[in-house]
């Protein structure tokens, strides 16, 4: 065998192996998606059925039984609400730390990160009681507040690294051109970091959308986002797999697609820029 043939064979072997592993790991998601188009009888058919006549009935039933759209709306409002508020609070902080760093800047950043390390379960009781006393249990407002605080450190950190990466000379050029701090931010910094701000927002939305601990513990029916709604399917009547799959597919699909678009930002955000 020539060297070229050997190389080709190696690529084919590696490629096939990678494909097999990827398909195995993706299988649960694929199966969930498939099952959501089956009838309940097909869903528990044994051996499992791969080919069948698809039905959309499950999606209608899920909507009717658990009011999917209402909970989806909760997820949207809470994720977007918390993300927007967090961005509004975080942008000025990240800006000032990136462009006017002081001796304490690094300490402040690390301290912010350390609040992220506080396990939620350690403060569950006080938050629950505070929520109860201020009438925030099972409200969208309550979860928005919690999610804002939960993601604020990551958001500040991500924005900080984006701002930090802006070429310093461009800002100096703006200063030479007579930009005031305000015009510098609005006409130069913001337009240049739109991409960064958007991907930070996307990451925050994903984290909020999939958050389960607080959603389950602080909401009942009114403000329950999709994570909490799905959890209710763990009860015995949730053994209707086709409907369960339909609900799950509806809950996950938007965010999986979302996630595909911002893989790279996710790494930078979650590893706090330590891996590029």
């Amino acid at each position: 065998m020539t060297l070229t043939q050997q190389k080709k064979l190696k690529t084919v072997l590696i490629g096939s192996l990678a494909w097999i592993i990827a398909l195995v790991l993706f299988f649960p998601i694929f199966w969930m998606f498939l099952t959501s188009f089956k009838t309940e009888a097909q869903a528990i058919a044994f051996p499992p059925e791969l080919f069948f006549k698809p039905t959309l009935e499950n999606f209608a039933i899920v909507q009717e039984r658990s009011d999917y759209l209402y909970h989806a709306m909760n997820s949207v409002v809470i994720s977007f609400g918390a993300t927007i508020i967090a961005l509004i609070i975080a942008i000025p902080a990240a800006y000032s730390m990136a462009f006017f760093p002081g001796k304490r800047t690094k300490d402040i950043l690390l301290w912010m990160l350390s609040t992220k390390m506080l396990p939620s379960v350690g403060v569950l009781v006080p938050i629950y009681l505070l929520g109860r006393d201020y009438g925030l249990l099972d409200t969208r407002t309550g979860l928005i507040i919690i999610f804002t605080l939960m993601n604020l450190p990551i958001i500040v950190w991500m924005l900080f690294s984006y701002f930090k990466d802006l070429p310093k000379e461009i800002l100096e050029a703006a200063r030479m051109d007579g930009a005031t701090p305000w015009t510098e931010v609005t006409k130069v910094v913001m337009p240049l970091s739109v991409g960064g701000i958007i991907s930070t927002g996307l990451l925050s939305i994903i984290l909020c959308w999939n958050e389960a601990f607080w959603s389950i513990n602080l909401t009942a029916t009114n403000a329950a986002p999709l994570t909490a709604m799905i959890a209710s399917y763990s009860s015995p009547e949730g053994l209707f797999w086709a409907k369960l799959s339909a609900a799950s597919t509806l809950a996950c699909a938007p965010i999986i697609i979302f996630g595909w678009f911002c893989q790279k930002q996710l790494v930078q955000g979650l590893t706090f820029g330590a891996v590029k």
Partner: protein, 286 residues
């Protein structure tokens, strides 16, 4: 003047995070020293270390600590080892690499509750699940995974969720590996294995640290999978610390003991966090 403005810009973030940290934490500390049960609201007397004593001597405590360690440890090993292997596998171009990557990372975006439900029902169900079918096809007796190996089942679910994260990080890190260095090694007669062992693994040492630390923080408080699939059972066999505290607080309404447990969790997390912060801080240039 400039100082004042920069401080003013940082103030909102710093203040809300400070409140978020101090208020609940000090309440937890306070609650952990009193007798406080939501079912008996009247009596809140000071009991000192009694709650801690009660929580620690609870037979579930040692099991929960053991389960937590086992869960965190196994998932870390599984995700790091498989993560490095898989990311190295898809480092070189082959047909459809982009799609393979998307497939591999997708489980990370599945919400934990859905994750648990899909595995519990459609994969691991002893009668209708995919595993049962595979076992039967092989002529074996299907296993009731969740009641026979509850902790193992949880480990599988959690690893399935976090392996993509490891792959994502390692793939990104591998892209920054020096190409010429690898070519130089090839000229020196190194095999693919040598290159992987002596160049790639050392190159990944920092990303591995980062993955271990970040996963550790999230894995210490795994909750949704347990809540949805096993409810910590059978018995306490799949109860971790987070679930045990939840159990005390919201199922038994025992705020005092739950708070004591919460503080223990905080202390444990801080031990881990201490190393993470140091690792990240070292790599941070302000």
């Amino acid at each position: 003047m400039k100082r004042t403005i920069t401080r003013l810009l940082m103030a909102p973030s710093v203040i809300v995070l400070l409140l978020w940290m101090i208020i609940p934490l000090s309440m937890t500390i306070y609650f952990s020293t009193i007798h406080y049960n939501l079912l008996y609201p009247g009596s809140t007397r000071f009991v000192g270390w009694l709650n801690y004593d009660f929580f620690i001597t609870d037979p579930a405590f040692l099991t929960a600590i053991g389960n937590t360690t086992l869960l965190v440890g196994s998932v870390l090993i599984i995700t790091v080892v498989l993560g490095v292997a898989l990311s190295a596998l898809i480092d070189k171009p082959f047909f459809g690499r982009g799609i393979v990557r998307v497939l591999l990372i997708s489980p990370f975006f599945v919400m934990p509750t859905v994750n648990a439900l899909v595995w519990k029902n459609m994969m691991m169900n002893p009668v209708y699940g995919i595993f049962a079918w595979i076992w039967q096809s092989l002529g074996l007796t299907p296993i009731d995974w969740l009641s026979t190996y509850p902790l193992f089942s949880i480990i599988v679910m959690v690893s399935w969720q976090w392996l993509p994260f490891a792959i994502l990080v390692f793939v990104t890190a591998l892209q920054s590996q020096d190409h010429e260095q690898k070519e130089a090694a090839q000229m020196d007669g190194a095999t693919s294995w040598h290159i992987f062992r002596y160049l790639t693994i050392p190159h990944l040492s920092r990303p591995i640290t980062v993955v271990v630390m970040i996963e550790a923080i999230f894995l210490l408080s795994v909750f949704a999978q347990i809540y949805v699939s096993t409810n910590g059972g059978p018995g306490y066999s799949s109860t971790n610390l987070a679930y045990m505290i939840y159990n005390q607080a919201l199922l038994q309404f025992n705020v005092g003991t739950a708070s004591a447990g919460g503080l223990i969790a905080v202390v444990l997390a801080n031990i881990v966090a201490f190393f993470l912060i140091r690792a990240v801080g070292k790599n941070l240039t302000v």
